[in-house]
């Protein structure tokens, strides 16, 4: 079948060992004029080195302020099938588990209403349905909600929370990440669908400090499973490992806080110095296990470089029990959001607000007790400013 648009630059992207998005869009273009025009417009953008998408506007479904990202071509006369090319975000299930039937269902619906192109998953974690016209938004929304799906978050709202697969498949998970993610989603339905924040807010839950979901770099609020108490050691298993690996070189010398010792017979850990890097537990899986008291460390503030530079999260609560109904957790989140709402500028993420106003002020006004675990970069700032209250003490 002949191509609707010639795409010599895009064709270059089909070469090489890896799958190509161009190849996939071409497959869709056989039965979707939207995909055919998409190829034409993207080719033109590559040639002119300028985007031809306009973003934002008034599109959405009634009652919701999020879940639909408006996108329009600025040259609709040339590419009429992508004059509207809105993105719809669908809330993903915790841990990204699907039945094959569910995926077939959502793909069939998108073939019916949209371009047939998807992105699974977007960086926030939603199922991303790429490309549809304004008039299909309401019927598509009605159809997916009737089948138990819902839209995800977008705009100045809580975004679809996401998590690692946690206790469903990982022995190191210290918290029920999937349960927490589902609970946050249900608890904050209004905050997700009715944008009321200065800017976006993302939750990600990781079961242990390995942080497979990279929450420390990608979520305004990172919930990372951890433990209290000593790492549990099975010395007999340590000896088994010693027979097949160099424990000194591969474990002891790799410990970032140098809190471990191995004399060839017994492994010792100075648990007070452990910073939960997980390296030893990951290397000596059968011999070491996290401490018995499980909970989470809460970190706040990370974000990608949009508007201002990238930030990593830092500790605001060193240890919190994360068990239903999560009352202490939600109480804290509500206080943080209230403070952000009172003090944040338009398009200012919570991490940026804390950087602007200062961490001590945040702690004081949200009611958190400072602790050494909150120090992000030791000795970065040589000055300490006493407050009047401190001097009076």
């Amino acid at each position: 079948m002949s191509k609707k648009h010639q795409t010599p630059l895009l064709d270059e992207l089909k070469k090489g060992a890896f799958p190509s998005f161009v190849t996939e869009i071409e497959k869709a273009a056989v039965h979707s004029d939207m995909s055919a025009d998409l190829l034409g417009q993207v080719e033109l953008s590559y040639r002119e080195k300028v985007t031809h998408w306009k973003h934002g506007g008034i599109v959405g479904v009634r009652g919701y302020g999020g879940g639909v990202i408006g996108r329009y071509s600025d040259i609709p006369d040339k590419f009429p099938s992508v004059a509207h090319f809105h993105t719809v975000r669908i809330n993903s299930p915790s841990g990204f588990y699907y039945k094959a039937d569910s995926l077939k269902e959502i793909c069939d619906l998108w073939d019916k209403y949209g371009s047939g192109l998807t992105n699974v998953h977007g960086s926030t974690g939603d199922l991303v349905m790429l490309g549809c016209r304004t008039e299909v938004l309401e019927p598509f929304f009605a159809e997916i909600t009737s089948r138990g799906w819902d839209l995800g978050g977008s705009g100045s709202a809580m975004r679809t929370p996401s998590c690692c697969l946690g206790q469903s498949r990982c022995e190191w998970a210290n918290i029920d990440t999937m349960g927490i993610t589902n609970d946050i989603t249900q608890h904050y339905q209004d905050e997700m669908h009715r944008p009321a924040f200065p800017y976006k807010f993302k939750f990600k839950a990781a079961g242990c400090p390995v942080d497979c979901i990279a929450s420390i770099a990608r979520a305004d609020m990172s919930i990372i499973g951890t433990w209290k108490g000593d790492i549990q050691i099975n010395q007999a298993e340590v000896k088994n490992y010693a027979a097949k690996m160099d424990i000194q070189k591969e474990v002891i010398d790799m410990c970032p806080t140098e809190c471990m010792a191995w004399d060839g017979k017994e492994l010792k850990i100075n648990n007070e110095e452990c910073n939960r890097c997980m390296h030893c537990i990951a290397r000596l899986t059968k011999a070491l296990r996290p401490g018995k008291e499980k909970g989470a460390t809460l970190l706040l503030g990370s974000k990608a470089p949009i508007v201002t530079g990238a930030l990593m999260s830092w500790v605001i609560v060193p240890f919190i029990k994360m068990e239903p109904p999560y009352e202490e957790f939600y109480e804290l989140i509500d206080k943080i959001w209230e403070w952000w709402d009172e003090n944040g500028k338009n398009r200012e993420r919570i991490g940026e607000l804390i950087e602007r106003t200062g961490f001590p002020r945040f702690l004081k006004e949200v009611g958190l007790t400072p602790s050494a675990a909150m120090v992000k970069v030791p000795r970065r700032d040589p000055f300490f400013f006493w407050s009047e209250e401190d001097v009076q003490k």
Partner: protein, 73 residues
């Protein structure tokens, strides 16, 4: 103040701002709660919710999420 009156205040505020300044949901909540004794933030949020559900007001996105009057067809 009953909910219908709060809804009128919300709509009037958005209408006055149209073409001058885009209002975020939190701008509306703070302004009305501050200007009217006895109106709590939660009252304004509930009124706003009703207005959006009815399609009287809509959310828009222009680099951030705002509340606006829908364009006339």
């Amino acid at each position: 103040m009953d909910k219908e009156e709060v809804k009128k205040l919300v709509y009037a505020l958005v209408e006055q701002s149209t073409g001058k300044k885009k209002l975020k949901s939190s701008d509306i909540v703070k302004k009305i709660a501050a200007d009217h004794d006895g109106v709590e933030k939660d009252d304004v949020k509930a009124a706003l919710r009703d207005l959006v559900d009815a399609g009287t007001l809509i959310y828009t996105y222009f680099g951030g999420s705002f509340i606006e009057i829908p364009p006339k067809e």
